[in-house]
């Protein structure tokens, strides 16, 4: 169904403990969109990394009163997942200090696991990560 445009969206508070819900929901959408279990696991990790960054960097601390949006679009043989935070944002020149446990793997993981990753970020406005995984026809 190449022209079936399916949209699933999820909004959670900017709190670390909601990561599991986000990852499970996106994994479930991926399976239903026709991604293989392996590709869906890859997406689970990529989404997990983007959510972690939203939690660790968008505000100084976890915020129950702020939120993160996750939007999944299935159309034209691919699944696009967008993770949006409304926090500080970053540029090459102006980045929050890497968290002590960060080993610079988050964005690397996203890029190596997804077919395409695009980052839109504006200081003071927030960050949106667009990730695309192609739906390969089942063998």
């Amino acid at each position: 169904m190449p022209n079936d445009n399916i949209v699933v969206s999820l909004k959670v508070p900017s709190l670390a403990k909601y990561g599991g819900i986000v990852r499970d929901a996106v994994y479930g959408v991926a399976l239903r969109a026709g991604l293989s279990v392996e590709d869906s696991e890859d997406l689970r990790l990529a989404i997990g990394e983007a959510f972690t960054n939203a939690i660790q960097y968008s505000y100084e601390e976890e915020r129950a009163d702020k939120h993160v949006d996750i939007i999944c679009n299935t159309a034209n043989g691919q699944l696009e997942v967008i993770i949006k935070d409304y926090g500080r944002g970053f540029t090459e020149e102006d980045k929050p200090e890497s968290n002590k446990v960060g080993i610079g793997l988050g964005i690397t993981f996203m890029q190596s696991l997804m077919d395409d990753v695009r980052i839109e970020s504006a200081l003071g406005k927030g960050t949106s990560i667009y990730m695309i995984k192609k739906i390969s026809p089942k063998l």
Partner: protein, 116 residues
């Protein structure tokens, strides 16, 4: 679904084994970090981390492992990781950690016989 990571520490032939059950992420990694730091503090330099029942680990969990591996490196310590599931193995491969003082095993028997 369990909300918190479950962690147990036991010893086999004087080697500490850390059993992890659940998900290691931005919410649960501090627990893992605390436990593994305690083990290192007790002067163990060869540590087995059993991830057979880990459903998910991301860069926060790998960060804990990487910094622990750095701490035991001066004593020729190695981080021995048991993981059976292919999607967890893949994360270790992509991370580049296997080029450092890390070893992967498919099961506990393999890990123990290699360490002792």
């Amino acid at each position: 679904m369990s909300l918190s990571l479950q962690i147990k520490v036991r010893e086999e032939k004087n080697i500490p084994i850390i059993d992890l059950i659940g998900e290691i992420d931005v919410y649960t990694y501090p627990q893992f970090s605390e436990v593994i730091n305690k083990v290192i503090h007790d002067n163990h330099f060869n540590i087995i981390v059993n991830m057979e029942n880990v459903k998910y680990i991301d860069s926060t969990g790998l960060g804990v492992l990487a910094s622990s591996a750095n701490k035991i490196a001066p004593n020729n310590g190695v981080m021995h990781v048991i993981c059976a599931q292919s999607h967890i193995k893949k994360i270790f491969i992509v991370s580049g950690l296997l080029e450092k003082n890390f070893k992967l095993y498919d099961n506990e028997a393999e890990a123990i016989s290699s360490v002792s």
